[in-house]
Structure formats: structure tokens, C-alpha cells
């Protein structure tokens, strides 16, 4: 399942605006917590096996990793969240678009 690590960690790159929804307020609140400097969280990818795609007449059309990091203004707290996505299409599985 998902992973969580503390420490300096990698500087996560915002690959999409998507996790911009991460509450700035939440991060700001964390800024006051001593001992929490850098935390990163990553989910495990979830998807359909090739066999399952065939059974369901679905075909994978994309797979992506979405990451977001926010730091408090003083730089003492950084929270990174990494999610995984997969998209499947019936039309693609049927040989169409």
C-alpha cells in the first residue's frame, strides 16, 4: 500500500495543477508543529491487469503519476503527496476510438 517518508526527500514536482486543492490552510497549520519538516506520501498504483481488461472489454489508455508539494512560508514544513491514476476505455478495447 502507500508509502510515507520523513526527511529531506525529493523535491516533488507539480506535474499538474490537480492537487492544488491541497489546503494551504492545512499546510499553514502544520507549520507550527515542531519536528515535522519534510513529509512525503505516495499511494500504491491501483489498476486492472491485462487479463482483467480483456474480461471487461476495457483497455488502458493512460497511466500517470501526480505529485504535489507545499511548503510553509518559513520553509520549515513541506508536505508532498503523490497519487497514481489509470484510465480505461471501452471503445479502445473494441478496436475503435
Amino acid at each position: 500500500m502507500g508509502r510515507n517518508s520523513n526527511g529531506q526527500g525529493d523535491p516533488f514536482v507539480r506535474r499538474r495543477s490537480f492537487l492544488a486543492a491541497l489546503s494551504v490552510g492545512t499546510v499553514a497549520a502544520l507549520a507550527g508543529c515542531e519536528g515535522i519538516t519534510n513529509q512525503s506520501f505516495e499511494a500504491s498504483p491501483v489498476g486492472l491487469s491485462t487479463d482483467a481488461q480483456e474480461r471487461l472489454q476495457l483497455r488502458e489508455v493512460s497511466q500517470d503519476t501526480l505529485s504535489f508539494s507545499e511548503s510553509a512560508a518559513d520553509g520549515n514544513v513541506s508536505v508532498s503527496v503523490t497519487s497514481h491514476t489509470a484510465v480505461y476505455s471501452r471503445a479502445a478495447a473494441l478496436g475503435g476510438l
Binding site: G2, A20, L30, S49, A52, L56, T85, A86, G96, L97
Partner: protein, 382 residues
């Protein structure tokens, strides 16, 4: 290796794909001709040019503007862009005798099956008679049952092709669908056939002594229903996101916001575009999303070993995608991560008042929930 199966195995599926500029995922809708302000339709491509009451005629209308990748709904100005379906026994003749080029096909090679769940074994899928055929205005169960009975009796489908060749209409040779040409002088018992013909074969054979063709067929005020195309527009987005907590506080809103809120998040909207709303399309949900809880079909799914509710919504898109009806089916489960599964499908209903009601009552919602439940049950994090 991709198998061409399901709706693309059928002549109607290929007609829809071709009419949609190669995009079968744009799907189609079915109008009852009587709802379009048409009262009678003469069938000049049949011997005797019999006239059929429009209450017995349905029109399968593909969704997209021809050749456009964008999900803009096609302008529907007349009958020419539709496929016209008439049960043979609604035609008042002793025998049906096509004039000009025509083909005979098995029913199952013409109309896609209803079910969105792929069938195993050699059992054939039930064809969705009641959704393809005209409901004769005031819908009641008895009439629907009769329609289903009709189509099950209609073991053959007669397709007069008219001014265009079979390949132009269906994008494949007749042999692909085991179609055989109607022989000179061949006739058919009306009760044994379903007559399916391109709309331009109707208009180009409009008899001179028949009442004039309707100048405007009013597609804009009529409510169609999604064509039962086996889920061709169906897509699934899966998002696994960590249940991030710092000092006991959740740090990832996607893991805890309610589903109404979740569906409005950029993250999810971007995924929905990939899964079928159309990338690069500027859309808004103009009407809804409105929560629906159909009585039929599954209400829960198993997601990574845990039971979870299926939450369904219907809506009508606006912006560049004006008039597309959409169904969204969400399953969410928590373990160490929060996993979100969203199945979606869309249908070119049109910017018509009451369009959301069509979706709310549609069998497609039940079929989509079944497929989402099946999909969630086969997801793995390994």
C-alpha cells in the same frame, strides 16, 4: 491484439462509428419519429410505396458532427443522417418487396446487444428491442413487451441501401456481417422482418404523390434515449491517493471530501476528460450533477476486498460539449490509501429541456453501475 467485437461487430455499430467520423465512443441516440413532428413516412423503396405511421418508426441518430474530434453534437436537420427502423408488421402490405439494392442480415449482426457486461460462453446477448424500436408515443408496459416480441420474431433484417453502396453506409463489405443481397423479386413476410434503412434512402425515394417531406424535422424539442450500444462511450478513471496525515490532520483533501465536491476538483475533472469527456474540451456541467439511486442493479461494489457504495450522478454538459448527457458512477474505498473509481458514459441527447430526466430513467444507468461494480471488483494494487 484488439478484438473487434461487441457493437463494432454489428452493422449498426459500424454505421454509428462511421457517422461519428470514426469515433464510436460518441455513441448515438434513438428518437421516436412521432416525437419529431412527423405523422407518416412513405417507404418508396418498397414495392407499392406503403406509408407507415410515424408512431412505428424510430431513428438512430449518431452523436458527433461528422468528422469532428470535438464532442459537438451534430446538427440534426432532417432524416438523412439517421438510420430508420420499422418493424415489418407495422407496414400495411401483404409482403415486403424491396426495390433497388437491398440486403438481408441476421438481427444479431445488425443491432448491438443491450448488456454492457461481456458475456462468456456461446450464449448470445439479448437484443434490446424496446430501446431500438419506437415506443408508439404513450409508453406502457404492454406495448413495450409487444415491441420486444416483435423484434425477437424479426429474425431477419432487410436493409434497402438506396443511393449509397452498403460499404459507404456501414464502412465494411456486406460479407463482414454475413449479409446477402436480396434477390430480384424476393419478398418477405412482414411479421418476420425488421426493415432498417438509411434516412437518405427514405428521402430520396419520397414518392411524388405523397404529402411533401417535412421541411423541418424538429430534433430540438424531442427527447431521445441513449442507443443501447453496449457501453461504447464508457470509460473508467482510477485514482489512488494517499491518506496523508500529519500530526493527526488530513493533508490530502481528495481522500476526505464528499463525492459531490470531489467531482468538481480539477484533479478529477482532468481524469474525466481523459476517460471520455474529451481532452481539450471546455465543458461545464450545465444541469446537475444530480444524484440518482436506481432500484435495479447493484448498489455496492467490492473494491480491494472491501464493500463500498456505488454513488451515481447524471448531468447535462454545457460549454463546448453542450447537450451531452453524462452518467458518473463513483466507488470509493479506504485502506492505507484512498482509492477512487469513476465510471462515466455520455450520450448526445441535445440541449433539450428534460434531458436529465431521460438519463435518470435510462437503462444505461443500471448497465453502467453493473460494469463499474465489475471493474472495481477486478482492480488490484499489486
Amino acid at each position: 491484439m484488439v478484438d473487434r467485437m461487441g457493437p463494432l461487430r454489428t452493422a449498426m455499430g459500424r454505421f454509428v462509428e462511421r457517422s461519428n467520423g470514426g469515433l464510436v465512443s460518441h455513441g448515438a441516440v434513438v428518437f421516436d419519429a412521432a416525437d419529431l413532428g412527423v405523422s407518416e413516412i412513405p417507404l418508396g423503396m418498397l414495392d407499392g410505396a406503403p406509408t407507415v405511421d410515424a408512431r412505428n418508426v424510430s431513428l438512430v441518430t449518431p452523436g458527433a458532427a461528422d468528422g469532428k474530434v470535438e464532442i459537438k453534437i451534430a446538427m440534426r436537420e432532417g432524416l438523412d443522417d439517421s438510420m430508420v427502423l420499422v418493424p415489418g408488421d407495422a407496414i400495411d402490405v401483404d409482403e415486403i418487396a424491396p426495390l433497388g439494392d437491398a440486403y438481408v442480415l441476421d438481427l444479431r449482426d445488425v443491432l448491438p446487444a443491450q448488456s454492457w457486461i461481456p458475456l462468456t460462453g456461446d450464449g448470445g446477448a439479448a437484443t434490446a428491442g424496446r430501446d431500438w424500436l419506437a415506443r408508439e408515443g404513450d409508453v406502457n408496459v404492454e406495448e413495450l413487451e409487444l415491441a420486444v416480441e416483435k423484434i425477437e420474431r424479426a429474425r431477419s433484417v432487410v436493409v434497402p441501401t438506396g443511393p449509397r453502396r452498403f460499404e459507404e453506409i456501414f464502412g465494411a463489405e456486406p460479407s463482414v456481417f454475413s449479409a446477402r443481397p436480396v434477390e430480384d423479386g424476393e419478398t418477405f413476410e412482414p411479421a418476420d422482418v425488421l426493415v432498417v434503412m438509411p434516412g437518405d434512402n427514405v428521402t430520396s425515394n419520397w414518392p411524388a404523390d405523397a404529402p411533401e417531406q417535412p421541411a423541418d424535422v424538429d430534433f430540438r424539442s424531442a427527447l431521445p434515449r441513449p442507443a443501447p450500444m453496449g457501453g461504447v462511450s464508457f470509460g473508467v478513471a482510477v485514482l489512488s491517493t494517499p491518506n496523508a496525515k500529519v500530526s493527526g490532520n488530513s493533508a490530502n483533501p481528495l481522500s476526505y471530501v464528499d463525492t459531490d465536491d470531489l467531482l468538481r476538483r480539477d484533479a478529477v475533472q482532468n481524469l474525466l476528460k481523459e476517460a471520455g469527456f474529451g481532452e481539450g474540451t471546455a465543458f461545464t456541467v450545465e444541469v446537475g450533477p444530480e444524484r440518482v439511486s436506481p432500484q435495479d442493479g447493484p448498489s455496492t461494489a467490492t473494491l480491494l476486498g472491501n464493500e463500498a457504495d456505488i454513488e451515481s450522478y447524471v448531468g447535462i454538459l454545457g460549454g463546448d460539449a453542450e447537450g451531452w448527457g453524462v452518467g458518473l458512477h463513483v466507488v470509493r474505498g479506504d485502506g492505507e490509501d484512498h482509492v477512487i473509481v469513476v465510471g462515466l458514459h455520455r450520450h448526445p441527447i441535445g440541449p433539450v429541456d428534460g434531458a436529465i430526466d431521460v438519463l435518470r430513467e435510462s437503462d444505461t444507468i443500471v448497465e453502467a453501475r453493473k460494469l463499474v461494480a465489475e471493474t472495481a471488483g477486478q482492480l488490484s494494487d499489486e
